[in-house]
Structure formats: C-alpha cells, structure tokens
Amino acid sequence: MAGEISITVKLFAFFRENRFKQQEQTFPATITVREIIQRLGIDPEEVGVTMINSRHCTLDQTPVQGDQLAIFPVIGGG
C-alpha cells in the first residue's frame, strides 16, 4: 500500500514479555522510532538503546522500507 513501510522490529530482554522477539510490521511511512515504541506499549523512558540496521539511532528518526529496528531497555554488563 502506498505511504506504508514494512520493517523488522526486534525486541530484547524484558521488552519481549507478552510481546515478541522479532516481527515484520507495517507502519505509515512517516512514523518515528518513538511512535513505534509507543504503539508497542513500551514506555520510551524505559528504552536504553535503539538501532536501525546495527547503527544507533535517535527516537526521532524515521525508518524506511526494509529497515531492521532493534529496541533495547537500559542494560549493561561487562
């Protein structure tokens, strides 16, 4: 459909609970990372890192058709 994009959304750690690990999803072409996070019912405050195609991105970025979006909570280790 015109004006829509299909992207792969990947979730990690407790963001997977009652959601999914990885899913193809369709969104309006103008959608931001923040809006995707809100649609998933995730509080943006809990988000630590987001990446599009293995590069860090901001919550205001707009993914394009075929992108892979990874959403992580605040985590650390080492």
């Binding site: 809990e46 890192v49 860090h56 992580f72 650390g76 280790g77 080492g78």
Partner: protein, 575 residues
C-alpha cells in the same frame, strides 16, 4: 583491628607482620598492589622467578558494610604479558582479610625443594604449613576438602592444576559465600602463586570489625550509595539476565567477535544470549540472581543448573560465554557451561583459554562449533598437562605460535575479549594502551560507545575515543582501589548522588577529607605508576598497538578495519 602488612618469605619459609608505612595508608586494592609491585619488584625480573612478588590486598572499604565493597585485588608481574598486573574478584576473602586487619599480604621468594605449602591467616598472623592432601586437586575439590578440614566459614584463595603447572593462563580462585568459585582471572597470576609453591591461602573467620572513624556519617553515605545502585535500571537488568544480557546487543551492533575474529555477528547468538540463559535457569530451578560477596545489591551472578537440575556453574559471564560461544562458534549453552565449570576447576582464565581454543580451531585442532571437543581437550589435555594442554593453557599467543596462525587477537600477549575493536573504536584504545594488556575492564568504553551510559560516543567514529578511554581508565583505577565492584560505575556515570556518597564513605571510614578530584588524582597516579613499571621492564609505545590483522581485514556487518592512527593512540598518555 589495626591494619598491618603480612609478609611471607617462601625462600626461608618465614613470616612477619609489619606496620603499614605512611605512604601506603591511603591506598587499597589495585592502588596498593601496583604500588607495592612497583616499589619492590625488579621490572625486568622473570615473572616465575624468586624476584617476583604476589601481593594480595582488599580495597579501602572492604570489610565494612558498604554495598558492593567485597572485591579483592591480586597483583604481580604477569607471566602472560610481562607487564604489571592486577586482577580482582569477588568471593569472601577481601572482607575476611580486611576484618583481620590485613592491609596487604606480600608473598616473596621461592622455596628450594618440591614441597607444596598452605598459608593460614588468622588473628595471630600468617603461618606456613607444608601441604600434601590438596596437591594436584581441582579447585572445587580443594574447597570441599578444606571445608571438611576446618569448617565452611573459612575463606579460601587457591590455585588449580594449571597454577601448579605454572601455565600462563592460570588464574587464582576465591571461594564465594556458597563455596563456589570466583576468579582473579587475567594475566596468569595463578602461575606466580604456583611458582612460589603456595597451593592455597586459608583465612580464619573473626569477630573483629573494621574500624570506622565516623560511623554516623558512614551509615548515611552508605544509605545514599546503596539507593543509587538499587535504583539504577542497569543494576536491575544485571540481576535478571546477568552480564550475558550483552550477547544480543553486541551482536546487533556488529561487534561480537565470531569464528576467531572473522565476523562481528554470530548466527547462534540467540541460543547463547542472556534471555535464553535466564529462561533455562528458571526452567531448571537454578537462580538467575546470586551474589558473589555479602553486601552486593546488584547480584549479577547466577546458579546455572544442568538438565538434571544439578549445579553446573555460577558467575557465568558474558565474556566467557562469548569466547567459548561466538568466538568458537559453539551455540550450545550446556557445552559452554560445562567448559566454564572445567576451566574453573582446572584454574585457567576462561577468556584467555577460550580465545586460545578459537585460535586452535583456526589452526585445525577442532572444527569450529565442536563444544564437546573443547570439553574433551580441557579434561584430557589441559587438566592433565599434556604438551597440547600446556600450549593451550599458556594462552592465545602460545597457540598461535605453536599452530602457525597469524590471526591471533592479543595485545601484549593477552587475549582480546568480547568486543571487536574495529566496530567499537573506544575499546580498541583501551586494549592498546592498557597497562596490563587487552582487558575490557580497564576502561569500559562499551558503556558510552554502545550502551548510552555516561553520554554517547559513536562506536565507529574517531572522535572522542582517546579521551573517553582515558577518563574511564583513570576512574577505573580509582574504583579498583576502593574494593568496589566495577559495576557501581553504571550508577556513578549517570547518577550524580552516587560518587559523592562513595567519597563520603571513604572519608567517614578513615576520618579523611578527600574530594572527587583527589579520587581522580589517585587514578592518575596509579596509571602512571603502572606505566613506569612497564617502561622499566622494556615496553614502549610500539607495544601499544593492536595486531596487524585488525588493520587489514574488514569485519562484517560494518566492513570496517582498525583505523585509529598510531599518533592518536600515543596521545592517550598526554596527561
């Protein structure tokens, strides 16, 4: 109890107790081990000879009720890197030594003859006893045997067969509150202990307490400090998934070294991830959350059970799982857990030994992915000290030389851990410039390069990486002196109440008047002391480089090489 220095001379088999010299009073942990090694060890000496010394020191706050203050530092000249070395770990020993008033234990000299010895530390000082029963035993058996000989409350610092064989990947194990093991892993310090023919150090429990000058101020500061740690979301995630939560994010960032550092992503990442590990632990009635020392409020350790729901391993860390997993292409967590257990028992560093296995796989010893084969070689070769086992037990560089492999990921002979420097430039600066060979914990830029902690610096850019690594290496040297677990840094980097509370605790403990700047200056002075030792041992800026293949072989998915100019690296030391 008043603090003392315990000195053990293994040449004459004598011990002594000394007052703490004024110049060492304000030091603890790594600050103290590195200062003593720099003052008393000839930098050019053979690390396994009579001139090297093994120094054990609890941190400045160890033995108090301060949250997360139970780390023990062990230092010497390293037989793996030839540099100065400090490896720290949890377990019960730091708190027990501090309560006995042991500011540092210095083990020097070499005994003549073939006998082995145990050191017993109590309120009366140190005694040396000849040891027969424990010789040749693995670390788990050592702990169980001492448990029967004394009681389960004694502290234990021990070496396995690898330390007895003086292998340069040998670690030193510390008993934890559940009679399992924690490891002072890196740099082959177990070989130094083995060279002195000390099989283990047993610490008697005491009712004595660490003196606190201003108890009220201390309690108040500890309350604020603990709150900062507990409230931090990273602490909470660490308690759920352990450090292994990193597999998926480092893989996603394209920085998970795979198949002996030939790719930055591993197809089997999900199978070995923290998320899978958490679910497996819960399913098998293990514990996702576990503390390596009393008073830890983060609890990143865990109890991982096998399929029969029996204990297999704990302290099952991201770096070990990455190394045996992605780097050797093993996507079976049970094989990795078995290897982890075997390495703990034999007493070898699980990073060095696993990276050595990856190099050996490239050399044709085993197929990549052969987890059972790795366990077999650990059991039949490394544990028994066959020639092959000794080559592997001496680390990745040793295997590279024996098998003619040129893709050998080491700096100053020490294996590069779990983050590819081509895809995370900041950590490459740390690997190259660290005073102790490649070691992520020396200046953990992953926090800022990948995790968004303490700000954000693009992992692939050149900008700001040297400064980032320098600031973190300075801060880490200071934290490593307090007895604090390095994971307090996640709270310290982003919660403005955390660091002042830590400084307040140190001041309350000693009646001091330190500022945050004094703590930074302590870190600077430790790094400079360590660097001066290395320079006197013959190291130059030419040693502060990554191996050739990182400059030449691009790594997927970002297809990047290591491209920080050497002059940039050399600027690290401009402070």
């Amino acid at each position: 109890m008043a603090e003392k220095i315990y000195r053990v001379n293994m040449t004459n088999l004598t011990t002594s107790t000394e007052p703490v010299p004024d110049k060492w009073l304000g030091l603890g942990g790594r600050g103290l081990t590195s200062t003593i090694v720099a003052e008393e060890v000839e930098p050019t000496c053979h690390p396994l000879g009579g001139k090297n010394k093994l120094v054990v020191a609890p941190g400045l706050l160890s033995g108090t009720v301060a949250a997360n203050s139970g780390r023990l530092s062990i230092g010497a000249k390293s037989p793996l890197t030839g540099t100065i070395k400090e490896a720290n770990s949890g377990g019960t020993a730091a708190q027990m030594l501090a309560k006995l008033g042991c500011k540092a234990l210095i083990i020097e000299g070499l005994p003549k003859g073939d006998a082995w010895y145990t050191l017993l530390i109590s309120e009366d000082g140190v005694t040396i006893q000849e040891e027969q029963e424990l010789v040749g035993k693995g670390n788990f058996d050592v702990v169980a045997t001492i448990g029967k000989r004394t009681d389960e409350k004694h502290g234990i610092i021990t070496i396995g067969p690898a330390g007895e064989m003086k292998l340069s990947a040998a670690n030193i194990s510390i008993k934890d509150p559940d009679s399992h093991l924690r490891s002072s892993g890196r740099g082959g310090l177990g070989a130094v202990m083995g060279s002195k023919r000390v099989k283990c150090i047993i610490i008697e429990p005491t009712d004595a307490k660490v003196e606190i000058v201003d108890q009220e101020k201390f309690t108040e500061a500890n309350r604020a400090f603990t709150k900062a740690l507990v409230d931090n979301p990273i602490s909470q995630a660490l308690g759920t998934y352990g450090t292994n939560v990193l597999v998926n994010i480092i893989n996603e960032a394209g920085a998970l070294p795979t198949r002996n550092f030939t790719s930055g992503q591993f197809d089997g990442h999900e199978e070995i991830s923290g998320e899978t590990m958490h679910d497996t632990i819960v399913e098998r009635a293990g514990k996702p959350k576990h503390n390596c020392h009393k008073g830890c409020v983060i609890q990143c350790s865990q109890i991982y059970n096998d399929k029969e729901k029996k204990y297999k391993t704990s302290g099952f860390e991201y770096e070990s799982i990455w190394a045996m997993g992605a780097d050797c292409c093993v996507d079976n967590l049970d094989h990795i857990a078995e290897a982890d257990h075997l390495m703990d028992d034999i007493g070898v560093d699980s990073i060095e030994t696993s990276v050595a296995m990856g190099v050996a796989m490239e050399g044709g010893l085993l197929e990549f992915g052969d987890g059972e084969g790795i366990c077999r070689i650990l059991r039949e070769d490394v544990a028994k000290g066959t020639p092959l086992g000794r080559i592997i037990g001496c680390g990745a560089a040793s295997v590279g030389r024996a098998f003619g492999v040129t893709r050998v990921p080491v700096v100053k002979n020490q294996a590069i851990p779990a983050y590819d420097p081509r895809a995370v430039k900041g950590i490459g600066i740390t690997y190259a410039t660290s005073t102790q060979g490649a070691d992520h914990t020396m200046g953990y830029t992953i926090a800022t390069n990948i995790l968004g902690v303490g700000g954000s610096v693009d992992p692939l850019s050149h900008e700001g990486q040297v400064e980032l690594s320098r600031n973190l290496q300075i801060a880490t040297a200071a934290i490593d002196s307090t007895g604090m677990c390095l994971f307090i840094a996640f709270a310290a980097l982003d919660d403005e109440k955390c660091l002042p509370a830590l400084v307040d605790m140190i001041n309350a403990r000693f009646g001091a008047d330190l500022t945050a700047d004094d703590v930074t200056n302590l870190g600077i002075s430790i790094l400079k002391t360590e660097r001066a030792f290395n320079e006197a041992a013959g190291f130059t800026n030419k040693d502060d480089r990554l191996p050739e293949f990182f400059y030449e072989e691009p790594i997927a998915p970002h297809n990047v090489v290591w491209d920080i100019p050497d002059e940039e690296l050399d600027k690290f030391w401009d402070f």
